[in-house]
Amino acid sequence: MKSGFRILAAVTALLLVQGFYEAMWVAPTERTMGEVQRIFYYHVPSAWTAFLLFFVNLVASIIYLVRKNPKADAVALVSAEVGVVFCTVVLVTGPIWARPVWGIWWTWDIRLTTTLVLWLIYVSYLVLRRFSDSAQTPKLAAVLAIFGALDVPLVYFSIWFFRTQHPQPVIGGGGSIDPRMLHVLLINWLAFSCFAFLVCWARYGVEILQREVDEIEALESLRGVAR
């Protein structure tokens, strides 16, 4: 278990270095946007990783509601926390790119708005977990995760009605991308996913340990009362 974690950490470090090198020096400079386009290799992998983590959160929440397995709840908590971090990276790198390319920091475009609403929903999820300290917190949080997942398609359709300004998704969106750029993008995505998985793993260990400590403390205090 511990050696697995170390191996993954080493692989992640190598991948991140390789991804950074390729994004900065190997990938060709984009013709119209210039160097600023390179932020794409951080923006898009972060977005994919964040969406993947939110999906993991939804699945873990449903499993928790069905099976009442506390480990599923720990996975849900961890994936939401790390997902919010990656989603924040997306929301910060987006405007940095948009300012020189579009001339504006922010626009109420379909993908921007959906990502922002997703971020808001998951922040409220974390706030709920923070403010609720009963043993039922996991149940409430799991229900909120399902509500959030139901909300996302509705948000998407409500913005879809407006004109959309964001570049078409490069994969499966009819857009075209230089194969060398695609290669760099995929390397970075792999690196970011490994990194996210690594952080989740560490955080999961801490969470499980914290729960054990809480349990022991509760038992101790009960014993103190009995004495």
């Binding site: 509601l65 609403v117 808001l120 929903i121 922040v123 409220s124 706030v127 709920l128 403010f131 609720s132 300290d133 009963s134 039922q136 917190t137 149940k139 409430l140 229900v143 909120l144 399902i146 509500f147 959030g148 139901l150 909300d151 509705l154 948000v155 359709f157 409500s158 009605f161």
Partner: protein, 225 residues
């Protein structure tokens, strides 16, 4: 089925009777939204053309904030004397309680809207250029969209610290598509450019999806203690 209906009706009439005798919620909601109308009017000072563009947003934001007042006191009453615990151990279906509470809030917020809408019309000098009757389905669907999730999240935030502040934090992110639909539909009807059908259908979808979700998951929330 008949027990569901009779329990719903009994809870609903009890809540309405309590509200009628105290009038706490409706009075504070009315005064609150009156304040919002006045403050917005001072801050924007729009002419007739501008107010058609922004009124949809102002009206619904005012109602959304005012509805929080009603939603927050929905379950507080049942916590006194352990009424909710008694309900939990009784064989009555959980959804009967939920439907009664949601309907009670719906009636309260609709009453507020009926009383405040004319005031909005006067203060902002509004006249609908589009088909005005469409405002009725928008109001009904929009109000239901707010109260069904609001009632549900109010039950959820019962178990949290500082629950009064928790409700808007949970409700607002989920309500974003509903609020956008209401505001856009109202704006389109008032200014008369285009058709509001897309937004009304979206509101209807929102209502159906979340009413189903609430009914499916309320039992879990009620038993969580």
């Amino acid at each position: 089925m008949s027990s569901l209906r009779s329990i719903t009706l009994a809870t609903l009439t009890k809540d309405i009777r309590l509200e009628w005798r105290s009038r706490d919620a409706i009075n504070s909601m009315l005064f609150f939204s009156l304040l919002v109308v006045v403050i917005f009017s001072f801050s924007f000072d729009p002419n007739a053309e501008e107010s058609r563009e922004i009124a949809g947003g102002l009206i619904w934001v005012a109602f959304l904030f005012a509805a929080i007042v009603a939603l927050n006191q929905t379950w507080a009453r049942e916590l006194r004397n352990q009424v909710l615990d008694a309900y939990r151990v009784s064989p009555a279906p959980a959804n009967a309680l939920f439907i009664a509470k949601a309907l009670g809030n719906f009636i309260l917020v609709s009453l507020l809207e009926a009383l405040m809408a004319p005031l909005f019309m006067i203060f902002y000098n509004l006249r609908a250029l589009g088909p005005a009757w469409q405002l009725i389905p928008v109001a009904i669907l929009g109000t239901w969209a707010l109260v069904v999730n609001g009632t549900f999240f109010a039950a959820m935030s019962l178990r949290t610290r500082s629950r009064e502040i928790m409700l808007p934090l949970l409700l607002f992110p989920i309500s974003i598509p509903a609020v956008q639909s209401m505001v856009e539909a109202t704006r389109i009807i008032l200014s008369g450019d285009g058709s509001a059908r897309f937004w009304i259908v979206l509101l209807l979808t929102y209502d159906v999806v979340f009413t189903t979700a609430c009914l499916g998951l309320f039992e879990t929330i009620l038993q969580a203690e």
